[in-house]
């Protein structure tokens, strides 16, 4: 039970830091909205409805990347991550706390972006939304880990998208499929599979990424 208490304390901390600093969430929000507007101009006439869903997913992934790029920044100032690693709590709790916080930010940005998308482009039914949520989980889980790896490097801004995008491809397939396919259930199940596999993998390997 202390594990969950640790995670809760860490997630709360991240939310609080963001509330005070207010750099990440507004940026994500603005970015996703601006991207949607850009898409209106980028999509040629008569591209078909499905193209819009594809572009939605591009917007989501890049918005998530924006959030992930800033995910570990508070821990990098004053090398706070060392402080967390020193603590007797399970290191994977650090990952989980961060993932949950990033997920909250992403969902918050989408809570605004998705209605706007429906307004500008195409309607979103239940399966599509389920797809969005599941893919969010996947991308935050994997992204938090990759962001932690990239944080130690010289080229972290460039590196993070390179590490995340190949892993995000199955998520995009799942998400778009859930939105456009007649058999959306298959895609939802697939996203669940992805989340299960990669969340567990990320959870288990975080320890190794932050210790020497």
């Amino acid at each position: 039970m202390t594990y969950l208490a640790d995670v809760a304390a860490l997630t709360r901390k991240d939310l609080r830091v963001e509330l005070r600093g207010r750099d990440t969430l507004p940026a994500m929000l603005l970015f996703v909205l601006a991207t949607l507007v850009v898409f209106h101009f980028a999509l040629p006439e008569g591209s078909g409805d499905t193209a819009a869903y594809g572009l939605l997913w591009v917007a989501i992934v890049f918005t998530a990347l924006l959030g992930l790029a800033r995910a570990w920044v508070p821990e990098q100032e004053h090398r706070v991550l060392d402080g967390l690693v020193l603590a007797p709590c399970d290191r994977s709790a650090i990952w989980l706390g961060k993932t949950l916080a990033t997920l909250v930010f992403l969902l918050a940005a989408q809570a605004v972006a998705l209605p706007v998308f429906v307004l500008f482009f195409e309607p979103l039914h239940a399966a599509a939304l389920a797809g969005v949520v599941l893919a969010d989980v996947g991308i935050c889980a994997v992204g938090s880990l990759m962001a932690a790896m990239a944080a130690a490097s010289r080229a972290r801004e460039v590196l993070l998208p390179l590490l995340v995008l190949p892993l995000a491809i199955p998520l995009i397939v799942g998400g778009v499929g859930a939105a456009v396919s007649a058999d959306a259930e298959r895609f939802i199940l697939f996203l669940l599979l992805y989340d299960a596999v990669f969340a567990v993998l990320s959870w288990a390997s975080f320890e190794y990424v932050v210790t020497e």
């Binding site: 499905t50 994997v142 880990l145 790896m149 990239a150 130690a152 490097s153 010289r154 080229a155 972290r156 460039v158 590196l159 390179l162 590490l163 995008l165 190949p166 892993l167 491809i169 199955p170 397939v173 799942g174 778009v176 499929g177 456009v180 396919s181 058999d183 298959r186 895609f187 697939f190 599979l193 992805y194 596999v197 990669f198 993998l201 390997s205 190794y208 990424v209 210790t211 020497e212």
Partner: protein, 209 residues
């Protein structure tokens, strides 16, 4: 081993009415299989690194993945040639294998970017190892994704008939596979030895300073 390779190329023409596309098959598929194997080996070494903590595995994992990426690139190239020979296009999205390799190729290229931007040491070794493990998890998941994507991305225009293999063809295939595997193994050992030598030399130089 080079002999075996040449043999494979010579035996192949013996099978009449096959054409270039068939011959490339003997090289393309073994190369693809070898790439998978190398990635798998890299992941195994990575797991050993994380589990046992012996830094020797880091270099072995790296070299395996390096080989895997080279063979992956070759897979894409030979696959492209095959596509050209069979259907007249240099690229097609309907070949699941090819698309899968493209995704994997991107993934493993990022592996090198990760490695080159981290300082040498235990952190780099561990991060690389974790990434290598993600790679093998990605292989089946990506494959599934691409299969599912067929649904709505591009209608299958080209049908790919799996070759029905006669006995000679099968033998040729096995020979080619063995040859490519041997090639990969030799390259792996050579590169590993070379890198180890480099490291030892550096250590020696430092110790003398």
């Amino acid at each position: 081993m080079g002999l075996a390779l040449v043999l494979a190329l010579i035996v192949a023409p013996e099978d009449a009415d096959q054409g270039i596309s068939q011959r490339i098959f003997y090289i393309h598929v073994p190369i693809a299989l070898t790439a998978y194997f190398c990635f798998g080996l890299g992941a195994v070494k990575a797991l050993l690194l994380l589990w046992r903590g012996d830094e020797r595995y880091d270099l072995e994992s790296y070299v395996a993945i390096h080989q895997g990426t080279i063979f992956g690139a070759l897979t894409l190239i030979t696959g492209s040639i095959w596509a050209r020979a069979s259907w007249g296009v240099w690229w097609t999205w309907s070949s699941n294998q090819l698309v899968l390799f493209l995704v994997l190729f991107l993934f493993y290229c990022a592996y090198f970017m990760l490695r080159f931007s981290l300082e040498e040491g235990p952190r780099r070794a561990r991060s690389s190892a974790v990434y290598a493990l993600f790679g093998v998890a990605l292989i089946p998941v990506s494959f599934l994704a691409i299969r599912l994507a067929d649904d709505f991305i591009h209608p299958t225009v080209f049908t790919r008939d799996g070759p029905q293999m006669s006995a000679t063809m099968f033998t040729t295939f096995l020979v080619a596979w063995a040859a490519v595997t041997l090639l990969a193994y030799v390259l792996y050992r050579v590169e590993l030895a070379g890198k180890r030598l480099d490291a030892d030399l550096r250590e020696l130089r430092e110790a003398l300073q």
